[in-house]
Every structure is written in C-alpha cells, then in structure tokens.
C-alpha cells in the first residue's frame, strides 16, 4: 500500500448539518415525555387561565381577552420550548457524555449547536400551532391569517434571548438539577412578565420588576402583533437585543468553563 503522500479533505458541511439535525430531532421525538410536555403545558395553562374569559373585552384596548392570552401563552410556549430544549437537553447530553465522543470526531461543535437551534425552533413551531388550533376550536379564538403568521414569525425570531438563557442553564447546571433550575427561573419569570395573567393585574412590586425582564419584552412583541401592546415595538426590540447579548455572553462563559474542565 502506498502511503507516501497524504491526502487531506473533510466532509461536506451541508450533509453533516442535515444528518445531525435529523438525528437529534428523531432522538427527541422518541422521548414522548419530553416532546409532548413541551406542547401540552401551554395548552393546559391556556385552558385554565384563559378559556373562561376569551370573549370578555380586554381593559384599555379594542380587542377581547382571547387573542391577548393566545399571544401570551404563545410566548410562553416558545420560551418553554427554547429553555427546555437547550437547558435540559444540553445538560442531559453533557451528563451522558454525548459531547465527548462527538468532540473526538470531525464534527464541528457549531454544527451540533446549530442542529439544536433548528430542533428547538421546530418544537416551538409545533407547540404554537397546537395552541392556536386548540384556542380556535375550544375557545373560538381566531385571527386573520396575516396576524397569525406575523405572530408566529415574531415569536420565533424574537426568541434569541431565551435560547441564550437555555444554553446558559444547560452548560451551568448538572443533568439532574437542570429541570429544577430551568423551571425555577423561567416559570416565575413568565408569571412576573404577565404571560399568565396580564401585568396590570399583578401585585404592584411585580409590576415594578416586570419591565426589566426579557420575557416581558418578548410578550410585548406578541401583544403588539394582536393589537394590545403596552410599549412600542422599538423599545421591546432594543430590550430583547440587550438581553440577547447578556444571556449569550453568560452562556458562552459557562460553555467555556465546561469545555475547559473537559478538554484542557
């Protein structure tokens, strides 16, 4: 065998990205306890908090409670998909040392992370769709198609800070504590941001805290789409951008700490 001359090449990235994304998606879909919970929880909350009041008028606005809460719980659905996919998903993968063997292969770490993003968006999209279908069938809450599409687009595009939050949790928490840590952070945060009950009806000290939370501004871009915002789109986008930088910075820090522990 002649081995004098070395031939160096690498696998094409598009095929790798496609296979990695499909593999991670399949793996998650085969754990129904995980994939179903993501979709069912927002519907359940909507049924408890929203369904009885959907046709009442929303104070200080021209719309009813139905679309408002659908936007709220849509925001909750996407944020919980992001936080659980990244927070719990990444922590569990670290716990099972899935990243270890991957690291020794030619797979660039960024491809696995990109596949994770696509997966999270996929799950977020379907839990949104499930919520909308439920709201329109069970509560008769309908929007025109343009508003619906706009709402979906805004919620997915505006979710960047929540991906950052999820990654920060995923790289900082252990596999057993990640679920608790994730719930402890984003459930109270969603509540305090008015995603379950409008901010105006929350205790006054929470009302003072709310405008600093990422989920509050995330809610605003959704309420803006259905015509009931309490701040301008510009303000919300600026806040979300700042939170994106902060949370991704934090995630990067925890990611590096984790990598240094294992690979230096």
């Amino acid at each position: 065998m002649s081995i004098g001359e070395l031939r160096f090449d690498v696998a094409p990235l598009p095929r790798m990205i496609w296979k990695q994304t499909r593999a991670q998606l399949l793996n998650t879909l085969r754990i129904p306890a995980f994939s179903l919970t993501t979709a069912v929880l927002p519907i359940m909350f909507f049924a408890f908090f929203g369904l009885p009041y959907v046709h009442q008028a929303l104070p200080n606005s021209s719309i009813t409670v139905g679309p408002y809460l659908m936007a709220s719980f849509g925001a909750f659905a996407v944020s919980s998909a992001m936080v659980s996919n990244f927070g719990i998903g990444v922590a569990v993968a670290r716990g099972q040392k899935i990243d270890l063997l991957q690291r020794a292969t030619p797979l660039p770490p960024a491809v696995a992370i990109a596949a994770n993003v696509v997966n999270a968006v996929f799950f977020a999209f379907f839990s949104l769709l499930a919520l909308f279908v439920f709201a329109s069938i069970a509560g008769g809450v309908t929007l025109d198609i343009g508003t619906w599409l706009n709402l979906i687009f805004r919620l997915l595009a505006g979710a960047a800070p929540l991906i950052g939050l999820g990654m920060a949790i995923g790289y900082a928490a252990g596999p057993n504590s990640a679920v608790a840590v994730a719930n402890l952070i984003y459930l109270p945060m969603s509540f305090a941001s008015g995603l379950f009950i409008p901010v105006a009806q929350l205790p006054s000290f929470i009302q003072k805290v709310a405008p600093y939370l990422p989920t509050y501004h995330y809610g605003q871009i959704a309420w803006n789409a259905v015509g009931a915002p309490s701040e301008s789109m510009e303000t919300a986008v600026i806040w979300l951008s700042v939170w994106t930088v902060v949370l991704f910075g934090l995630a990067l820090r925890f990611f590096r700490l984790d990598q240094n522990r294992k690979f230096s």
Binding site: F8, Q20, N27
Partner: protein, 300 residues
C-alpha cells in the same frame, strides 16, 4: 520520509499538582498496530486524549499525520473509541452509523461498518437497548465507519465477558490486517500480546518500554517459580536474592526471580518443604510486573 501517523515530542501534562504524563516521546508509523500497556493511572488515557486533541499538553507537542490533532483534517482521518462516552440513545444502530459516517469525507456504507463490527442482527435496535458487549461493538462500528486511516481504541474490551472479548479481538485483528494504523490501550496483557506488533509500556506517566511482545519478554531474564509448601513464613530466608514478585494463595506460592537456582537452593537449605515444583519461562505478564516494579523502585 513518510509522515508518521502519530508523533509525540517531549509530551507533558499536569493536572494541578499531579503530573499525569512526564515527558513522552513516541513515533507511530502508518500501518502499525500498537498496544499501550500500563497499570491504572499510568497516563495511558491522558496520552491518547492528547494524541486526539481532546486534552492540551502542558508542554511538548502531539501531531496526527504531521498536523495538530485539533485540526478537522486530522480528525477526518481518525476513528475513535473512548472509555466513557455516550450516544443519542434513542437512535438505532444503523441510524447512528449513518450519522457518524456523515462526519467523514469518504465513509463506508453503514452496512459494511455494521458487518465489520458484527452487528448485522442488531442494526435496527436502539442504542440504549444494547448489551455492554454489543454497545462496544457499536462504538467500534462508529470508529471505523468513516473508513479512517487510524483508529484509537481506549480500553475497548472493558466490561466484556470472555466470549465477547474473544470475538471482539478477532474483529480488531481483521481490521488491522487491512493496513490501518491501530492504537489501543489496555491493561489486559494477553490482549496486547495477542494483537499488537509493538507494545509501549507506560508507568507513572513515563514510557518505560517500547518493543515487540517477544523482545519485551526476553528483556526479563528470569524464571517463574511456583510450588506448594506448608511452611508459613519462609520469606525472610530469601533476603538478599533478586525476587521481583511473590504471591501466596493458601499453600501455593508463585514468585518471579532472575536467580531461580539460588532461590531453590536457599529454600532447600533452610528446610522449607517444596512440593509440586514448577519452573517456567516468563510470560508477558511477568515481564510487565518486572518492568514496572523495577522502575517503581528507581523512582522512589
């Protein structure tokens, strides 16, 4: 000159105050089948991890095919089986092999990798439902599926029963026959003896021997002596003699010495009763014990 598959130059690695690897020089040519042997904590895994770019050396350099091991082009030529790692457990064998193949520029078909690892009957089983031996075979399939030029196997047979280990070694041997570079770490001596053309012995972070199995055995001049005795305490009688190791199990004694005649004479003189005497040449295990114990004495 042909580029070596692996080259380590004065490689050192410390974890805080602990020196895991203390200056290793090693060159492995393409196509060699090398076993890295050593007791637990000898620095084998740390060394493999530095070869693969999974750990950064404190000083010194490691190269794979002449380039840094972190380079994707270097990794594209290597398949790896690690001691502790996980997989997307809900995926089936075939799906995982297909996935790992996509990481490499010229993968073999998933079917072929599965056949090499002997997993044809389990290609539709989810990874989390495989037995320990089957999972090791899956890891082997993942190491070879990219049709790499070199494969690294870190303790590949750990946790396997005798039968599984035997068939697995056959699989590795067959793969090695195709001209690939294979580096495996193990603390099973018979495994190294059976498989490798070259054995590199590590002890306490240093490379203490590098030879063929036959050479290694011949480096130890001496005999293995075993006998039964009813004398409870005869060890003091052997003071001053070159005895490398001695084990006693009930009345059966096994010792390794470079002065077997002297030992037997002394035992006889002191009136130790000796029954069922056997004197034999050293096997690789004896050579290994002898090598590592000498160095330990020197170091302390």
């Amino acid at each position: 000159m042909v580029t070596p598959a692996i080259e380590l130059i004065d490689l050192r690695k410390s974890f805080g105050p602990v020196e895991a690897v203390r200056g290793v020089n090693l060159r492995i040519e393409q196509g060699e089948l090398v076993a890295i042997l050593g007791p637990n904590g000898a620095g084998k895994t740390t060394c493999i991890n530095m070869m693969l770019g999974l750990r950064r050396p404190t000083t010194g350099t490691a190269t794979l095919f002449g380039i840094p091991p972190q380079d994707r082009r270097a990794r594209s030529r290597c398949g790896v089986m690690l001691q502790e790692s996980g997989l997307l457990g809900q995926l089936r064998v075939r799906e995982l092999v297909d996935l790992f193949g996509s990481y490499y520029p010229h993968p073999m078909t998933p079917g072929r990798a599965i056949a090499i690892a002997g997993l044809q009957d389990h290609s539709n089983v989810q990874a989390s439902k495989l037995s320990t031996g089957q999972r090791q075979r899956l890891y082997f399939a993942l190491a070879v599926c990219g049709d790499p030029e070199a494969i690294f196997l870190d303790e590949p047979t750990v946790g396997m029963d005798v039968e599984a280990r035997r068939t697995f070694l056959d699989v590795i041997r067959e793969f090695g026959a195709s001209g690939k570079t294979i580096v495996l770490t193990t603390h099973y001596l018979e495994e190294a003896d059976e498989l490798a053309e070259r054995i590199v012995v590590f002890n306490q972070g240093r490379l203490i021997a590098d030879a063929t199995p036959t050479e290694l055995k011949s480096q130890v001049a001496g005999k293995r002596i075993s006998f039964s005795t009813s004398t409870p305490m005869f060890e003091p009688y052997l003071a001053g003699l070159e005895v490398v190791s001695m084990e006693r199990e009930a009345d059966r004694v096994r010792l390794l010495s470079s002065e077997p005649e002297e030992v037997l004479w002394r035992l006889h003189q002191c009136g130790v009763d000796v029954r069922d005497l056997e004197v034999s040449g050293v096997n690789l295990e004896d050579a290994f014990i002898s090598l590592t114990s000498h160095r330990t004495q020197e170091a302390s």
